[in-house]
């Protein structure tokens, strides 16, 4: 019978109670071994139920470690969860919800958890003190040698190189009131705000509501408190404007009340259902933020306090009540506050043998103590555990009285397999601190509590150091009401705070470390994960690392996956003791998001793979794809790089041939290229001409209607920014084109000048890039093709459409704009077509061009054509180039002011030594001149070699001139025409002797343009 077997297997499971579903047993594996737990378990509770004590190994000394906590603060019980692309190292067993078939393995040990040879580090621990590595490994054979070994020993879990198959996504939402934390205070706050009609979001990290109530036995209005939780949950569920998200961690507070929250949508399942995200990252923009994040219990520092079986007292109660697990059979309880008694009573009630209850506080009365005594527990006051024994699990401990002056009385050995310890509770001030909130020290609870908060975040309940249930509830009700009110909602009657049956607690008395045996092999840990001991803190202090931030970085205190949730305050307090200063003077280290670690993929959301960044497609994209285009990206656009004939593969030679074919077609017949990607800006208004005249370096005022002109824009610092043609379509109407890459920037700049700099100019600018598909028809036969394609009434003769002329026309019934401009140096036209008709017109031109051998061409051919003509692009205009550098200094109008003109006379800009644009050809007539080569006088010079310039763009073969050509910048280049220099490419061991020529290789007179 299954149930019978499970009961026996789960040796530490209580027969009744807990939030687990005993009808749903779940098989799982840890380190290959099969176990069973129940739905509702975490991996940690299921392991404890099965009597598994050792779950992980510590970072530095590889000491065996068990489960310390029952929450996200867990420093010890880290495992590798799942496998393949879903493997997740460093997963906290205390937060992993059990599912059928769960597989986890221990990490950071070799060969096995039980036998880990790196445990030798523990023996060598005397040498491996804080910061030892700064003092050695400096000599032979070099740091890299040691580093390899250290790196292999460091790290915790191992990652994977497989890709994660799961989906991630973001979700945005706005609310009036955000409540972080679904404990009693958070629920009360949400309830009040919700009742007022506010839009409320409550996020709760765990799988259910109730917070600490799930782990305690408390009552509200004389009924079990979890009943109140259920009732509240139901009421919230009925409110349309309230959203409760469980399994959702508020991980960071950012500016203006933006809270980041991670919802683990499917982590409690073996795999996410299809189309569902594994995790969803919420951007919550809140009017008011209420932090009801509770508090985190601190361990006590005593000898061997890291042994498996030493647990937080509150976690012991969680395992008892929430999971019906007894983490041990014989317990010692030690605390500096009343939680010891509470825990001992609960343990005893669950049938655990309580060997000893130790209260580190001086003798005194207290309701809790009296209860414990009345229950027959063996209570010792002013006493503590001083040393725990047991390598793979606690077997016993020494207990002793404390003399109050750092000494101990006689020790007595107490056998036990569980030590429940409580050093008090620290409010979770993390989120409060992210938003610039200050933390104030509260001596009463020996912890930091939220102080002033500029953003108006309000902390309530345990998060504010109010540890009583009634306090938490009333705090929450009040904050919820106030928040709703602040958002403009009317508040109804304030309900009475529910009544609880709490027992008054006696004050805590901090004790930061328990004096222990002088034996140096006994370690007392402050930070369990990173193995920071009190000796490390003393050493850091001795060496002058006396700021908390130095202490942290020198000892790694609080730098583990738990970020010191259970250790920071103790460590800082110990430093304060060593410095002889009060804790608030010493302070605390800075809290940073995320509150608990967040997967990179969750941050990235859906922006992965091809959707990492949107691509843009031209109107003729599908045509290109159907006709063998190989695409390349240019400024988010996919553009044909070249076209392959059917059946031809993409080998380099083929590619070169394709390009050559395309170039030849343009020079000898006619080609068609998609230039839709060029930016197009519609400029209209009475001051449009004046405006253009100011933003372009060359004059634009005299441009007649129906004409286009090439223009250059400078940045304010005088450097060339962008170029393109601008056409005057009407009296006050212009169309500007920009380069593909700069289109967005140029538009933003124009808007800048109009809105901010010259608000007196009456001009409107709009991007029409997407409205118009654009294609350039170029080649000696271009006019014939255009004439054949054009509709009746559209005349394209040299008279009707002269060089740089602009007319409206129609092709295939589509109204088009025709521009007689050319980038290739051939007779050319640009045709602008409303985008939805782009393909129709393109096809019409192809059809009309068929008899003339029309060839579509791509970016590569266009690149060669423009290099042959010496036209510059971004390869030349790299953000450091002046007009003069590219030989266009004369274009700058001297008659007017334009952007950048004030900078042109800077000494460096008029220095005759500046590299100038030149053409380059190989002296041997055949060797390629690779782009990126550097121009030097003599390739044999040893470094550092004086550099004369560089090769900016290169055509490995200009089909038109029959040899390689290139454009480059050469110091005093204009004076060196005819000279030879060397283009060197030491990365590939190449050097080419090149002749300096004019930067135009084809038709320098431009006669082909004007036919």
């Amino acid at each position: 019978m299954i149930f019978g077997r499970v009961a026996i297997e789960q040796s530490h499971r209580l027969p009744t109670g807990g939030e687990i579903d005993r009808l749903a047993p779940l098989p799982f594996r840890f380190d290959g071994k099969a176990y069973r737990g129940y739905a509702g378990d975490t991996l940690a509770s299921a392991l404890l139920a099965n009597g598994v004590t050792v779950v992980g190994r510590s970072f530095k000394y590889h000491r065996p470690r068990g489960v310390l906590s029952a929450g996200p603060e867990e420093p010890n019980a880290l495992v590798e969860l799942r496998g393949g692309g879903r493997k997740e190292p460093n997963s906290r067993a205390t937060m992993i919800e059990l599912f059928a078939g769960l597989e986890a393995t221990s990490q950071h040990r070799w060969p096995s958890l039980a036998l880990d040879i790196m445990e030798l580090n523990d023996l060598a621990s005397r040498f491996l003190v804080a910061g030892f590595y700064y003092k050695t490994f400096m000599g032979f054979p070099g740091w890299r040698f040691y580093e390899k070994r250290i790196r292999a020993a460091a790290g915790m879990g191992s990652g994977t190189v497989e890709w994660d198959p799961d989906r991630y996504e973001h979700m945005n939402t706005h609310c009036d009131v955000l409540v972080a934390g679904g404990g009693p205070s958070g629920l009360a706050a949400a309830l009040m705000a919700g009742r007022a009609g506010a839009r409320v979001i409550l996020v709760e990290e765990t799988d259910g509501l109730g917070g600490r109530l799930r782990s305690e036995r408390e009552t509200i209005d004389d009924k079990p408190a979890m009943g109140w939780v259920a009732k509240t949950r139901a009421e919230l569920a009925d409110m349309d404007e309230v959203r409760v998200l469980t399994r959702t961690t508020a991980f960071g507070c950012y500016d203006d009340n933006m809270v980041g929250a991670l919802e683990r949508v499917a982590d409690h399942l073996a795999a996410p259902p299809e189309h569902m995200a594994r995790q969803r990252l919420w951007h919550i923009r809140a009017g008011r933020v209420i932090l009801a994040t509770g508090a985190i219990e601190r361990p006590l520092v005593f000898g061997g306090n890291d042994r498996p079986g030493v647990m937080l007292a509150g976690a012991v109660r969680s395992y008892l009540h929430r999971f019906a697990v007894t983490p041990g059979k014989r317990a010692v309880v030690v605390a500096n506050n009343d939680d010891g008694y509470r825990t001992a009573l609960d343990l005893a009630r669950a049938g655990v043998e309580v060997m000893q209850v130790l209260d580190t506080r001086p003798a005194g009365a207290g309701a809790w103590r009296e209860r414990a005594v009345a229950a027959g527990l063996d209570v010792m006051q002013r006493a503590a555990v001083v040393n725990a024994y047991g390598r793979m699990g606690v077997v016993g401990c020494d207990v002793a009285t404390l003399d109050g002056h750092g000494g101990v009385g006689d020790t007595r050995y107490v056998p036990c397999d569980l030590i429940a310890a409580s050093g008090g509770w620290s409010p979770s001030v993390h989120l409060h601190s992210h938003g610039d909130g200050k933390a104030d020290w509260d001596d009463g609870i020996a912890a930091f509590v939220p102080g002033a908060n500029r953003l108006g975040h309000v902390s309530v309940g345990a998060a504010r150091g109010r540890f009583g249930l009634a306090e938490a509830l009333s705090d929450g009700l009040k904050a919820g009401a106030e928040a709703a009110k602040a958002c403009g909602f009317a508040i109804g009657a304030h309900p009475d705070t529910p009544i609880t049956d709490e027992i008054a607690t006696a004050p805590l008395k901090a004790i930061w470390s328990i004096p222990g045996p002088t034996d140096r092999t006994v370690k007392r840990f402050v930070d369990l994960q990173d193995d920071v001991t009190i000796d490390d803190i003393a050493l850091a202090h001795r060496e002058g690392f006396v700021s908390v931030e130095h202490l942290k970085r020198y000892t790694t205190l609080g730098m583990g996956t738990d970020q010191g949730k259970t250790s920071n305050i103790t460590g800082h307090a110990l430093l304060a003791e060593a410095r002889g200063q009060p804790i608030p003077t010493v302070g605390t280290t800075r809290f940073r998001p995320p509150y608990t670690p967040v997967a990179m993929a969750a941050f990235a959301g859906a922006e992965r793979g091809l959707h990492f960044s949107p691509v843009r497609r031209s109107a003729m994209h599908d045509w290109h794809a159907e006709h063998g285009a190989v695409f390349v990206e240019a400024g988010a656009w996919l553009r044909p790089q070249y076209y392959l004939r059917p059946g031809v593969t993409k080998a380099k030679a083929v590619m070169d041939r394709a390009i050559e074919t395309e170039v030849r077609a343009v020079r000898s017949k006619v080609g068609l290229v998609d230039v839709s990607t060029l930016g197009k800006i519609d400029i209209q208004g009475p001051d449009a001409a004046e405006f253009l005249n100011r933003v372009y370096a060359n004059g634009f005022k005299a441009l007649p209607v129906g004409k286009a002109r090439y223009g250059l824009m400078l940045r304010e610092d005088g450097i060339v920014d962008d170029d393109g043609t601008t056409s005057r379509l009407g009296d006050t109407h212009y169309l500007m084109t920009t380069t593909t890459a700069h289109a967005a920037k140029v538009l933003a700049d124009l808007e800048w000048y109009l809105q901010v700099v010259w608000p007196d100019l009456d001009v409107r600018v709009t991007s029409v890039t997407e409205q118009w598909a654009a294609m350039a028809l170029a080649g000696p036969k271009a006019r014939e093709v255009l004439a054949a394609a054009a509709d009746h009434g559209t005349a394209v003769s040299n008279d009707a459409l002269p060089y740089l002329g602009v007319i409206n026309g129609s092709i295939a019934g589509v109204p088009v704009r025709l521009f007689r401009i050319s980038f290739s140096g051939e007779l050319g036209y640009e045709v602008n077509v409303p985008a939805d008709w782009g393909t129709s017109v393109w096809e019409a031109l192809i059809a009309a061009g068929e008899p003339h051998g029309i060839t579509p061409y791509g970016m590569e051919a266009m690149g060669i054509l423009r290099i042959e003509k010496g036209h510059v692009t971004h390869a030349e205009l790299d953000g450091r180039i002046t007009l003069d550098d590219v030989g266009m200094g004369r274009m700058a109008s001297s008659k007017k002011w334009f952007v950048g003109r004030g900078m042109l006379d800077k000494p460096a800009f008029i220095d005759p030594e500046r590299p100038k644009l030149v053409g380059l050809v190989p002296v041997d007539g055949k060797t390629r001149i690779p782009a990126g080569a550097i121009l030097v006088a003599d390739p044999a010079t040893p470094p550092p070699v004086p550099k004369l310039g560089h090769v900016a763009s290169s055509a490995y073969l200009s089909p038109t001139v029959g040899h390689p050509i290139a454009l480059g910048f050469l110091a005093r280049g204009r004076d060196r025409l005819g000279e030879t220099v060397w283009a060197v490419f030491p990365l590939r061991n190449l050097s080419v002797q090149v002749k300096v020529v004019e930067p135009c290789f084809v038709d320098p007179e431009g006669s082909r343009l004007h036919v």
Partner: protein, 92 residues
């Protein structure tokens, strides 16, 4: 996320905007009267204060207006916002 109150669109995520920098810089109005030093100052120098900073944000993915914002650079708190021509005071 900084929420920038666009005078046209209302409060929006700063991610919808492009930062356009120091709004106290005034471009020389009369280029003929401007000296090289004036241009130099305009193009290169910034006060770069810690505290309230007058700056421009371009609502690039919104209404495409340039918005003038007074924002505290030590807290990121937006103290006021308006149109480019507005004089801003904290708390407005």
């Amino acid at each position: 996320m900084i929420r920038i109150p666009c005078p046209h669109c209302g409060p929006r995520d700063h991610a919808e905007f492009s930062y356009a920098g120091d709004a106290t810089k005034i471009r020389p109005a009369d280029p003929d009267a401007a000296t090289a030093a004036d241009w130099h100052d305009y193009v290169y120098f910034r006060d770069n204060p810690r505290g309230p900073h007058m700056e421009y944000w371009h609502h690039t993915q919104g209404c495409r207006a340039y918005v003038k914002v007074l924002r505290d650079t030590s807290t990121h708190e937006v103290l006021a916002a308006g149109m480019p021509g507005d004089t801003l005071e904290a708390g407005r």
